[in-house]
């Protein structure tokens, strides 16, 4: 992330200078910073609401029930999660909220899932395999109905906006499945760096 952060900023400044848009780039620092706080603050209310609801769902055993229901699937995809962790339930809730286009609910629930995953993470600064898998599933953005896009199409007088639903569903499924496969592959070959560097991280045990 260090290099990406460096590259994004330095490339922007150099490209801005070359394009004669350095002033715009400088202005973007302020507008970007303002926007970040706006985004974070706009999350507070909805975050509080869903974290509250999720706490009830957990106390009444709903999350554990869902976790047990999808055990066969999560057991394979998220090997690190212990049997009794509610993380699997949170993950399932978050992904289904996403699938139904409830991104307002999906983000707080997803963050709660991340907190559960963090409990089982050995190195608190570094992403665990389970976290990477969850994020891969999330960034692929599996959605059953692209409601916002259809709304834009309708506003422009698009004749048959619903015709994009099937191709979008197909594309998002392909991206979703390939994200899971790639995360599984990387998990094998991209081991976390040991907290204390030791020579034994070159083990070739494999399968």
């Amino acid at each position: 992330m260090n290099y990406i952060f460096y590259l994004l900023i330095v490339v922007s400044i150099i490209a801005g200078a070359v394009n004669g848009r350095l002033q715009e780039v400088v202005n973007a620092v302020l507008t970007g910073a303002e926007l970040s706080v706006k985004v974070a603050f706009s999350l507070i209310g909805i975050m509080a609401f869903w974290l509250g609801m999720m706490r009830i769902a957990q106390k009444c055993g709903l999350i554990d029930y869902i976790a047990r229901l999808i055990k066969p699937l999560t057991g394979y995809l998220f090997r690190e999660i212990p049997e009794d962790s509610p993380a699997a339930g949170d993950i399932a809730m978050s992904l289904s909220a996403n699938a139904f286009g409830l991104s307002n609910a999906a983000t707080p629930i997803g963050i709660k899932a991340m907190e559960e995953l963090q409990k089982h993470n050995k190195d608190k600064k570094s992403a665990s395999n389970a976290m990477c898998m969850f994020l891969a599933m999330n960034t692929a953005g599996f959605q059953l109905m692209p409601a916002t896009v259809i709304a834009v199409l309708i506003s422009t007088g698009y004749k048959n906006p619903t015709k994009i639903i099937a191709p979008t569903l197909l594309v998002t499924s392909i991206a979703f499945v390939s994200a899971i496969i790639m995360a599984k592959i990387f998990e094998k070959y991209w081991k976390p760096q040991p907290v204390h560097s030791s020579p034994e991280n070159q083990d070739m045990e494999g399968n």
Partner: protein, 177 residues
């Protein structure tokens, strides 16, 4: 038919979840009001925790967009795109959709309004925007909330999945429209 069903499902999903959680809570004798407020307290903390991570990502991506390099990349890549039957107007969407959701939606609206409805580019852009989530934003928020700074392969997988999505969108749209 499918859309009608999906509309109803989308509308009822949230109310159904709320009724389910609250009813189950009462049946199991959970003090739902207390437990709710106790959980909701976390909301502020989590939102404030992600600010540093959001600032890092959103500021650097705002700078990148302001620098004009995205348009420049578009010009460089346009001969390649023509080869795959991809309209040049789509390029900004392809690049921006991993970086910023609101920007991708904005560019898509521009395309839809400028090129008019029922244009191939509009359809392709719609499928691309509708089928993706903003990788950088998701990573910043989710990892930021738990204080992870070493992402390992998470970003790479996210971007590769976006690339797969772009290729799939082009292929599917070429075959269908």
């Amino acid at each position: 038919m499918f859309q009608h069903f999906m509309n109803i499902a989308s509308l009822w999903m949230l109310p159904a979840i709320l009724i389910l959680i609250l009813t189950l809570g009462l049946i199991k004798r959970v003090p739902i009001y207390e437990v709710f407020t106790e959980g909701a307290k976390e909301g502020f903390k989590v939102s404030v925790n992600i600010i540093p991570y959001l600032v890092a990502i959103i500021v650097s991506i705002s700078m990148l967009r302001a620098s004009g390099i995205i348009e420049l990349t578009g010009e460089v890549l346009s001969p390649l795109l023509a080869h795959f039957n991809i309209p040049a107007d789509i390029l900004p969407v392809m690049i921006v959709r991993s970086l910023s959701g609101s920007a991708a939606l904005g560019i898509f609206s521009d395309i839809a309004h400028n090129l008019g409805p029922d244009n191939y580019a509009t359809t392709l852009a719609a499928v691309m925007v509708g089928s993706s989530e903003t990788t950088f934003y998701v990573l910043a928020v989710y990892f930021g909330a738990v204080g992870i700074s070493k992402l390992r392969y998470a970003l790479l997988v996210g971007l590769l999945a976006d690339l797969v999505g772009i290729i799939a969108a082009v292929t599917v749209c070429n075959l269908m429209f």
